[in-house]
């Protein structure tokens, strides 16, 4: 909100310059966003805190605050206003509030014989500094007093109000009827709904309550008799109306924060004074509909409690001084207790903590000395899933993968690139764009797109990973509003690789990850026996993908991105991706490593190569080797996978293994190793495979 430095100084009588004032305000009340020279004045842009709008949106309120901060005496009486008797207003105007919940108070003064003209230069300047355009002396006076007091005000042309009885104009504060319309002072036509509170005359709406005046009832150059309005409207009603009409005004902004109904009285008298001064005319009387008067509340304040919260020892006297500087009455109940009476203008203060805040900020937070907690605290054991997640990140990093973040939003275009369905995805009510209208159900898709983009940026081999959430419908009530699961995505892309080397590299990363999490017994399953497995597998090349399982539980999948998908996402790179469920990884992870005995007897290493049909799996060959070798075979290692042209024609391949023989009890002889090899060869040949010795 914008404030005039000269105006504030006039009211509070401080000596500080604009920059110094801004600094004090920032540290004790509200942040001053900038100070700007404007003619002979300075404009202060002050971020009034939302709960302080009711008391500080006017220059009066802010100067009251400044006086408290600087220890000056604020003399509200000095800025008085005349009293206006009710006079004969009842013969000219009748006011009715349909529901006091919507409008706590409605005040009106009728002035007769006013002359509409231009406003004086000093007023125009102040209005302009505060961002309000000058219209004429009547409208400007209403705006000026709003800037002064914080109370929105309105001026009707009495003769343009339509009456219900002859000679008496009727004003009714009510909800709009369905289909009612109003042309605003801004010349726009507003269609009103029953949610919207209006000021209606005998025939229909003449203003949207607390938001905008109507064109028809507004003042014009011929206006002679006017009705001044100072009302109090409910914050929620104004807020709803402002939202529905998509219309924010200086008035609605103030009402939305909940104003003090007692403010209206001072403001309307101030306005009447100002108009009579600027435009002449005389009062026909004042009318005040105020069914339930708002009275000041008192709060019990305890010195010890406040000192305990602040962590600083202030005396009862210091507290009393602070409260009085703010215009609160502090009545001593005992040496350490006060009953503090809060003026109704301070809508933000309702509990003792609010008073502690006032004391803290006026005393100065900078004076409170930092104190580390004197007691120690042992936190609960870390969530296992968080522990394993950190381990996962470290391991994938050490495997050469780069951690990346993705947005948790997706849209129809992106989903169609992957032929993914939006079933089960949560949809936003108010997306920023159609491409962010769903929450992300499958994070790996984003990582695949990022990988493709990196290849386009001439990264030779892109290795990315990340732990992102899959968010889907199907939560469990309040405990888990949606089905959120952390998913580890591991993606590698490169141009021109051969023999599925990308697949084996990602598989290697998965194996290394699981091994480091203490998961040894996972396996790769090509079969798709569940419907959701079939659905998920559509992303992948049908002959280059598998589910990753532990026993029969699927913990994730791996695959090369389908060539058709690659074409749709326009990448020349071959991309292989793996998806793992973090919760399941954590469930199977095993933190305790166990020592296993290292044999002191030397190992014998023999190599064996076997030519098998192309369709035979490595695992099948190993099963034969391990099944026939006997107890001395300690380990096997596939060290070469080979296919020459001749083999390719014959649809065969060669697999070469290191076979490591070792005993924990004795040194093996060559003869023993040879005997094992003979058994293995015999078993392999029994399968009609050729062993190359």
């Amino acid at each position: 909100m914008k404030y005039s430095y000269n105006w504030l100084r006039e009211l509070a009588g401080f000596k500080e310059g604009p920059e110094k004032l801004a600094e004090v305000l920032t540290m004790k009340s509200f942040e001053v966003e900038f100070v700007e020279k404007s003619g002979n004045d300075w404009k202060l842009n002050v971020a009034i805190l939302p709960n302080r709008v009711p008391d500080s949106s006017g220059h009066f309120g802010l100067s009251r605050e400044i006086s408290a901060m600087l220890g000056l005496k604020f003399n509200a009486e000095k800025f008085g206003a005349k009293q206006y008797p009710s006079g004969g207003i009842r013969q000219m105007l009748d006011v009715e509030i349909e529901n006091p919940e919507d409008s706590a108070r409605y005040m009106a003064i009728v002035l007769d014989g006013v002359k509409v003209k231009d406003s004086p230069a000093w007023m125009k300047e102040r209005l302009e500094l505060c961002g309000i355009q000058s219209i004429n002396n009547l409208v400007d006076a209403a705006n000026y007093v709003m800037l002064e007091t914080g109370q929105p005000l309105h001026v009707f042309d009495w003769s343009n109000l339509r009456g219900k009885k002859k000679g008496i104009k009727g004003i009714r504060v009510r909800h709009a009827k369905k289909g009612e319309k109003l042309k605003g002072l801004d010349e726009k036509d507003y269609v009103l709904s029953p949610n919207i509170l209006v000021i209606a005359d005998g025939e229909g709406p003449v203003a949207v309550a607390g938001i905008k005046g109507g064109k028809g009832s507004g003042v014009s150059k011929d206006t002679k008799t006017i009705v001044l309005e100072a009302a109090n409207f409910s914050q929620s009603v104004v807020r709803r109306g402002s939202r529905e009409l998509n219309l924010k005004t200086d008035a609605s902004l103030r009402f939305e924060h909940g104003l003090d109904p007692n403010l209206a009285d001072f403001a309307i008298r101030r306005l009447a004074d100002l108009i009579i001064k600027l435009a002449g005319g005389a009062s026909k009387g004042l009318l005040d509909v105020y069914p339930k008067k708002d009275i000041p509340r008192s709060i019990l304040f305890t010195v010890e409690r406040s000192n305990a919260v602040l962590g600083e020892t202030l005396t009862a006297h210091e507290y009393k001084k602070i409260f009085e500087s703010l215009g609160f009455k502090a009545e001593e109940k005992s040496k350490t207790e006060f009953l503090v009476e809060i003026p109704t203008i301070r809508r933000d203060i309702s509990i003792e903590e609010d008073l502690i805040e006032e004391a803290g900020r006026i005393y100065g937070y900078e004076k409170i000395k930092p104190v580390l907690p004197s007691t120690s605290h042992i936190p609960d054991a870390e969530e296992p899933e968080l522990y394993w997640e950190a381990r996962t990140r470290d391991l994938l990093k050490s495997s050469g993968y780069i951690e990346s973040f993705v947005y948790e939003f997706t849209g129809s275009t992106e989903l169609s690139l992957f032929e993914e369905s939006s079933n089960g995805l949560l949809e936003l009510e108010n997306p920023v764009s159609p491409e962010t209208k769903y929450l992300l159900g499958r994070p790996v898709l984003k990582y695949i797109l990022q990988t493709a983009e990196n290849i386009r940026n001439n990264i030779e081999i892109a290795r990315l990973f990340g732990v992102a959430k899959s968010i889907r419908a199907g939560g469990k009530g309040n405990e888990e509003p949606a089905n959120e699961r952390k998913t580890v995505s591991i993606v590698l892309g490169q141009k021109g690789g051969k023999n599925g080397e990308e697949f084996y590299e990602v598989k290697g990363a998965v194996d290394a990850l699981l091994e480091s999490l203490g998961i040894a017994e996972h396996w790769y399953d090509e079969k798709l026996d569940r419907a959701e497995a079939k659905e998920a597998a559509k992303l992948y090349h049908p002959y280059r993908r598998a589910e990753i399982k532990i026993d029969d539980e699927c913990i994730g999948c791996i695959g090369e991105v389908h060539p058709a998908t690659r074409a749709r996402i326009k990448t020349k790179a071959r991309i292989v991706a793996a998806e793992l469920d973090m919760k399941l990884l954590a469930k199977h992870a095993e933190s305790d490593a166990h020592y296993s005995h290292i044999s002191k007897f030397p190992a014998i290493i023999r190599d064996i190569a076997v030519i098998v049909p192309e369709s035979v799996k490595t695992e099948d060959v190993l099963n034969v080797v391990e099944g026939s070798a006997g107890g001395n075979l300690f380990d096997t290692d596939l060290f070469d996978y080979f296919q020459d042209e001749k083999m390719e024609e014959g649809e065969e391949k060669s697999l070469a293994f290191h076979l490591i023989f070792q005993s924990s009890e004795k040194t093996l002889t060559d003869g023993e190793a040879d005997a094992s090899i003979a058994k293995i060869v015999k078993a392999l040949e029994a399968k009609s495979w050729t062993v190359r010795k």
Binding site: V309, Y365, K369, K397, E427, P481
Partner: protein, 348 residues
């Protein structure tokens, strides 16, 4: 004969030490010591033709010479061996200025790196790490935090709301959490005072994106509750935190603020880490950077979490992890964090 011997000695003394390589040396060995026609062999063989008196003398001379020649050979052999090894090593010279070979090198995201640092610092002060759901109910995100419907504070955060999943008559309205504060409630519902936690996690805001705003970012919430936790304790803990994160010279200041879930509430500024309060473009000439919102937990929040009134007090704070990461690594644009661009990510 003696003359012969002297001649052999002279030529061996000049030829052997200058043999160019092992082949030449071998030739010389044959020339002087060869069993068939070696010069010395010939001398020894001819001894028997000498008179007995000379035989002994010449024999002694010849044997002495053999010793000398063998010594020369051994020395030269040794020398040649050394230079040969040297020349082999020389051939194996490597260009040390050629770039070293790197294996694939992974990286953690800069926000992860800072998050770990934050967690470590708070862990040293007894704070545990807790997470919570990102899809929240209105109650947890707003009402429980003393932000009732129509409260102006609901305007301060622009929220992504979710449609009700099809065919489901869902009572609580769902949204993407706008802050990590709902986890305060969730945690206190299950744990009693005293407690100290931090809650890192993703939050979402409906707003226009630019270099410093994104619709998705990470926040860290902090909560400490005990019998007598004070503003002074809050200052102690966060000052310690910022010193450990940004260096011992960092100062903090508290400015009054408003959050419905804390009372009193404050905004925390740290002295600008780029200019150390001198005023620069980063701190917009103010010397201070706004980094954190905080305050003393509002009694309504304790009430919503089911705590008995008056039995405890505590502080809570929240700050943007992305923003702190940007400060720490001097990253100019928040949107880089979700770009997936390896050229960016590999810098950390």
């Amino acid at each position: 004969m003696v003359k012969e011997i002297k001649k052999i000695e002279d030529s061996a003394g000049s030829e052997i030490p200058t043999a160019k390589n092992r082949e030449e040396l071998e030739e010389l060995r044959i020339k002087f010591l060869g069993r068939e026609k070696g010069a010395l062999t010939l001398i020894l063989r001819s001894l028997k033709t000498l008179p007995d008196a000379d035989k002994k003398r010449v024999g002694e001379e010849a044997n002495k010479l053999r010793g000398v020649i063998e010594g020369l050979f051994a020395a030269r052999t040794e020398e040649l061996k050394r230079t040969e090894t040297e020349s082999i090593l020389k051939k194996e010279w490597l260009d040390v200025t050629r770039p070293g070979k790197k294996g694939p090198h992974g990286h953690l995201h800069p926000v992860t790196l800072v998050r770990r640092e934050v967690e470590k610092i708070f862990a040293s002060m007894g704070f545990g790490v807790v997470e919570g759901p990102e899809v929240e109910t209105e109650w947890y995100n707003f009402d429980a935090l003393n932000i009732p419907v129509d409260h102006p504070a609901r305007d301060m955060v622009d929220t992504f709301f979710l449609k009700n999943p099809k065919g489901k008559n869902q009572s609580p309205k769902l949204l993407l959490r706008t802050h990590t504060s709902p986890v305060q409630i969730r945690y206190m519902q299950k744990h009693n005072s005293p407690l100290r936690i931090i809650v890192p996690g993703r939050v979402y805001r409906y707003e226009a994106t630019d270099a410093s705003h994104d619709i998705q970012f990470q926040q860290v919430e902090g909560l400490m509750v005990d019998k007598n936790v004070s503003v002074a304790n809050f200052k102690g803990v966060v000052l310690e935190f910022f010193k450990k994160l940004f260096g011992m010279n960092v100062e903090i200041r508290l400015r009054p603020s408003f959050f419905p879930f804390t009372e009193p509430s404050f905004e925390i500024d740290i002295s600008c880490i780029a200019c150390n309060k001198k005023g620069c473009s980063i701190c917009k000439k103010t010397g201070w950077l706004e980094v954190m919102g905080a305050g003393m937990v509002h009694p309504k929040v304790f009430e919503a979490a089911g705590y008995a009134p008056g039995n405890q007090q505590g502080f809570a704070f929240g700050f943007g992890l992305d923003r702190v990461t940007m400060m720490k690594y001097k990253i100019p644009d928040i949107r880089l964090f979700h770009s997936g661009d390896i050229r960016f990510l590999k810098q950390f």
